[in-house]
């Protein structure tokens, strides 16, 4: 009962924050919370972890593919009719494969993908909280350590956009073909079946996937892109700048100092002023509300001791750095890129993440 009261109060606070922002003219920030809450509820209720799907869970993979199918077709219509002018502006190149390979390799050590980590933190799981703290630190180190290398790796193919080079239709066809092929593979692994959707029970993957795709389509039409790493990195650099007494700002404006090229390319935004930050806060808050209302919140009980937490934290740091090689995590690098008809980026990310996850799992089994 206490848990449900917490859930209701938290939902009310998130609604209040959204209302305050919208009422004061910050439409993008206020609605960002609402879209985030929708994502958070969906991924928590349907356990939408891309890592689990890429390890071989055919049900979850099918759910993700159904969502991608909806989002791809919706994006095609939105881009074709001019409602939205551009797909995800992320660079295509070998860096995507390298970064996603490392990201996938670290997933078994972190205990999930980015989305999975967020919903598990929202469910009150301590190892995921340690991993998220590590990811935050990685998002500070990544811009400092690897961004210049990423730009070098991306340089030969930067500017290549399949939908521009060969048309939106071709990009959609590539997506549909890849989704159909993967659906066929999941059908071979597990026969097709439709589990009934009961709102009070954990949602079946197909329902979560469809809901994810539908929310994504609406958000893409009226709000923008679903990305997670950018606001995290911006926030971390902002905090580092504040901690340095704005000395970093001074150096960055001269094009000097660690992370200067990242700041030049990605801009620094104060966390409280970044609409994407409100989106991420909404995702975490939505997952927390869903976990509290369903009585699943774990209150961050620590199982396995501090060594386990330290391992998750360290893997999280690596993951946070890897996303700035791939220029995206499984959300922006794979899902958003694929869904907004950048198949050349999205499916390359998926391949790297899949191969990395296989390698990572093998090592985890050996170590345990």
């Amino acid at each position: 009962m206490t848990m449900r009261i917490h859930g209701v109060v938290l939902a009310a606070l998130l609604a209040a924050a959204s209302g305050i922002l919208i009422a004061n003219g910050y439409w993008l920030h206020g609605t960002g919370i609402l879209f985030g809450v929708a994502y958070g509820v969906i991924i928590q209720r349907s356990r939408m972890c891309f890592a689990t799907a890429f390890y071989g869970n055919a049900y979850l993979m099918r759910g993700i593919l159904l969502g991608l199918l909806i989002a791809s077709v919706a994006s095609y219509v939105l881009l074709k009719t001019g409602v939205v002018a551009a797909p995800h502006a992320v660079a295509f190149g070998i860096h995507v494969f390298v970064g996603s390979l490392i990201f996938g390799f670290l997933m078994p050590f972190v205990g999930g993908c980015m989305l999975g980590t967020i919903y598990r933190v929202g469910t009150g799981i301590s190892t995921s909280a340690a991993a998220l703290l590590g990811i935050l630190l990685g998002n500070l180190l990544g811009p400092f350590l690897v961004w210049d290398l990423t730009k070098v790796l991306a340089a030969p193919t930067t500017g290549f956009v399949m939908s521009v080079a060969v048309g939106l239709e071709a990009a959609l066809v590539v997506n549909l073909a890849a989704i159909a092929a993967l659906l066929y593979l999941t059908k071979r692994a597990v026969p097709l079946s439709i589990t009934p959707w009961r709102i009070r029970e954990p949602w079946p993957a197909w329902a979560g996937g469809l809901a994810l795709g539908a929310v994504f389509a609406v958000q893409f039409a009226v709000w923008g892109l679903f990305v997670t790493q950018l606001p995290l990195a911006r926030s971390m650099l902002y905090v580092a700048d504040a901690a340095s007494g704005m000395r970093l700002s001074l150096a960055w404006s001269e094009g000097a100092g660690p992370g200067a090229s990242w700041v030049q390319d990605n801009r620094l935004v104060a966390p409280y002023a970044d609409p994407l930050m409100y989106l991420i806060l909404g995702v975490l808050g939505g997952a927390m509300v869903a976990a509290l209302l369903s009585g699943e919140f774990q209150w961050f009980k620590v199982y396995g001791g501090w060594r386990t937490l330290a391992r998750h934290f360290a893997a999280g740091v690596g993951m946070g750095i890897a996303v700035w090689i791939a220029v995206g995590c499984n959300v922006s690098g794979f899902y958003t890129a694929t869904a907004t008809l950048r198949p050349e980026v999205g499916w390359l990310y998926a391949l790297g993440m899949y191969l990395g996850a296989k390698l990572g799992l093998r090592l985890v089994y050996k170590l345990t």
């Binding site: 109060v9 993008l28 002023a273 930050m277 995206g328």
Partner: protein, 227 residues
């Protein structure tokens, strides 16, 4: 063993989000607009700010925008606009930044608050967003380094007399020898830029000149690297 005070974490999280929202509301009002008449203005910007400075003057006035530290060290301004009648300058910043705006005589200045993110959203929706607009009384030989030029940016304008758009090399040659080069226009003109190279607008025959620099979707795709 618990990492957080278990009874309060969800509530503290909710309060944290509300506090963030209140911090944003308290930091600036999006609709707040003030007009002042000054010959010097200090402007402090937070990361992600994109205010627009609007200048109006009955008489031609020289306007220069310095970074604070450049101003203190006697370095050249980042934007110098001679003989301005009307101007709108977007001032986007990625970092904490302070500017000093200096005019050769008191001029009406309006600061329209804005955010980089809001502009990015507009561009993503396919709108071209004005980065700079300048209307000036062009005497023969008046020149301006066109502000806010970047790959994918479009320049549109109109000249009563005749103007020439010159590259850095052409501009230097003109300054040294008076040889007019570059692309010259009378009446309406338009040009799209492909890189960050400096471009000068030089008045060859006198008359009022006005031009605007627009950010386009192409600029966003050319510069956007991020997920």
């Amino acid at each position: 063993m618990k990492l957080f005070p278990h009874l309060f974490f969800p509530l503290l999280y909710g309060l944290f989000v509300v506090a963030m929202a209140l911090a944003l509301v308290a930091s600036s009002k999006p609709d707040a607009v003030g007009t002042i008449t000054v010959d010097r203005l200090n402007l402090s910007l937070a990361p992600g700010d994109r205010p627009v400075l609007v200048f109006k003057s009955e008489e031609p006035v020289n306007v220069a925008v310095f970074r604070q530290r450049d101003f203190e060290r006697g370095r050249p301004p980042v934007i110098a606009l001679p003989r301005v009648l009307d101007a709108r300058l977007a001032m986007p910043t990625d970092v904490q930044e302070s500017y000093v705006v200096v005019a050769s005589r008191p001029v009406s200045v309006e600061v329209r608050p804005g955010r980089v993110e809001e502009t990015t959203q507009k561009i993503r929706r396919g709108e071209d967003v004005e980065r700079a607009y300048v209307k000036f009384a062009g005497d023969r030989g008046t020149y301006q380094l066109i502000p806010r030029v970047a790959p994918g940016v479009v320049l549109k304008g109109r000249a009563e007399g005749r103007i020439c758009l010159m590259t850095e090399a052409e501009f230097k040659r003109w300054r040294e020898s008076g040889v007019v080069a570059g692309e010259c226009f009378t009446g309406e003109f338009q040009k799209k830029f492909e890189d960050f190279a400096d471009v000068y607008l030089v008045v060859v025959e006198p008359g009022v000149v006005e031009y605007a620099v627009y950010a386009t979707l192409e600029m966003l795709l050319a510069l956007g690297t991020c997920g």
